[in-house]
């Protein structure tokens, strides 16, 4: 007597949940109506989130900040050396920049846009296997916008996918749903890198057997697609495997940026620059 009733209620419960889920999926993928409830819920759940990140935070604390004095001395020396090296390089860079500008002027090419860089601190890291997201403490109020490229001091990290009032969410280049147009630094061969869900593995698909790519090649962003400015290092090729019967070769690469280790990231904004340029143009136009 109880059994059919239970089965019946199970079915009806499942059917109603099914309908609710499908409706939510459609609404959430087509509109932004559910972002409000999501933000409210995420504020309500933030204690859970911070509690859940305690164990990994403890692990990070023990590996990073519990270092002995000699280590600190060594890292200080390294930083000092690096500082002087970079400083001397930047001296050279200025003359190169001038030279480059003159050459571009000679060729009548448009000047390369200079990106405005904003420093942001990571609030939270969510490296769920199928979803690589980090959130940073800058939001709408700081002029962050969707699609903004994010780098660290070594290379490309990802792009902004969601902007909230005081924080924003960045999808990493290793997210399984992320693809980034790149080119090989050595010869300019253009291709795409896909994330795999592992923090240290990227896949470079659709290269045929006679593509000129070898282990150790550096992949830099190509600027195609307009999201990422060109020339930023993305990954180094770690493995090139030719399988006889396959149309494409299997190429894997390792991200250059410290995806799971950096505490600060840099947001590159072009919009701010173009706004500024527009203002400059307006200023120039006004007297006439």
């Amino acid at each position: 007597m109880a059994n059919p009733f239970r089965k019946n209620s199970g079915w009806s419960q499942f059917a109603s949940v099914f309908v609710i889920s499908v409706v939510m999926m459609i609404i959430d993928s087509r509109t932004t109506l559910l972002n409000g409830p999501r933000n409210i819920l995420s504020v309500a759940l933030s204690p859970i989130q911070s509690l859940a990140s305690i164990p990994s935070a403890i692990g990070r604390y023990f590996t990073s900040s519990l270092s002995a004095e000699p280590d600190l001395q060594i890292s200080y020396d390294n930083l000092r050396n690096e500082y002087f090296k970079l400083k001397s390089e930047s001296l050279l860079l200025r003359t190169l920049q001038d030279e480059n500008r003159d050459l571009r002027a000679l060729l009548a090419a448009s000047e390369r846009l200079k990106e405005k860089i904003t420093l942001a601190e990571l609030l939270d890291v969510n490296l769920d296997r199928d979803n690589h997201r980090v959130s940073v403490g800058l939001g709408i109020s700081d002029g962050v916008y969707i699609g903004q490229a994010v780098i660290d001091d070594q290379g490309v990290i990802g792009q902004v996918t969601e902007v909230m009032p005081f924080s924003s969410i960045i999808v990493l280049i290793t997210d399984p749903g992320h693809a980034l147009p790149v080119q090989v630094e050595r010869n300019g061969l253009r291709t795409v890198v896909h994330g795999t869900g592992s923090v240290s593995l990227l896949r470079v698909p659709f290269l045929n057997q006679n593509s000129d790519i070898v282990v150790g090649d550096v992949l830099i962003s190509s600027g195609m697609g307009g999201r990422f400015p060109n020339g930023y290092p993305v990954a180094t090729v770690t493995d090139v495997k030719v399988v006889e019967d396959e149309a494409f070769i299997r190429v894997t690469a390792d991200p250059i940026a410290k995806l799971d280790r950096s505490n600060h990231v840099l947001l590159l904004s072009r919009q701010a620059q173009t706004d500024a340029e527009r203002r400059v143009e307006e200023l120039i136009a006004e007297p006439n």
Partner: protein, 169 residues
């Protein structure tokens, strides 16, 4: 939620507490940092927890609870709404409707069944997130089924301990 004929007087409160505690531990285990070799085989802890409670308390933990847990996860992991909710509701529903048979099975047969359920769960959620969020299923996506199957007996024993400690029948 309706009256339960044969089960004891154990309060819904302690069950809710046990479910939330185990779901929280599963959440912590999901976001923990992992070495590379373990990464893809790391079990789907949340699905294990939902499957366990749907198995031992089929009258009270069903698709609806699975849906709630899934929706909370979608908020925490910033996923599209509905996918994980439906996936976990499906797991709860399948386990619910086969709970009597599952409990009669030996541990090996139970592991295989759980593997099949998790595969259905992963197929469904992977396919749906492909539809709504452009997720692509990689070969590595399926590896966690093995991890889940292997960890199932141990997770089962630990959750049994929790259930006994909370005096849930």
């Amino acid at each position: 939620m309706s009256s339960m004929p044969s089960s004891g007087r154990s309060s819904v409160g302690s069950l809710a507490f046990a479910v939330s505690v185990s779901a929280f531990i599963a959440l912590v285990l999901t976001v923990v940092q992992l070495p590379n070799w373990l990464f893809y085989f790391w079990p789907d802890w949340i699905a294990i927890v939902v499957a366990y409670w749907a198995l031992v308390a089929p009258r009270r933990v069903g698709p609806f609870i699975g849906f709630i847990i899934g929706t909370l996860l979608e908020v925490l992991f910033v996923r599209k709404f509905g996918v994980l909710g439906l996936g976990l509701a499906t797991v709860a529903f399948i386990v619910n409707s086969t709970s009597q048979q599952l409990r009669a099975l030996s541990i090996w047969q139970q592991m295989i069944s759980i593997g099949v359920f998790i595969a259905i769960f992963k197929l469904l959620t992977g396919w749906l997130s492909g539809l709504v969020a452009g997720f692509t299923i990689t070969p590595e996506y399926w590896y966690s089924i093995f991890g889940t199957v292997l960890i199932w007996p141990f997770a089962y024993i630990l959750l049994e301990e929790l259930r006994r400690a909370m005096r849930i029948r």
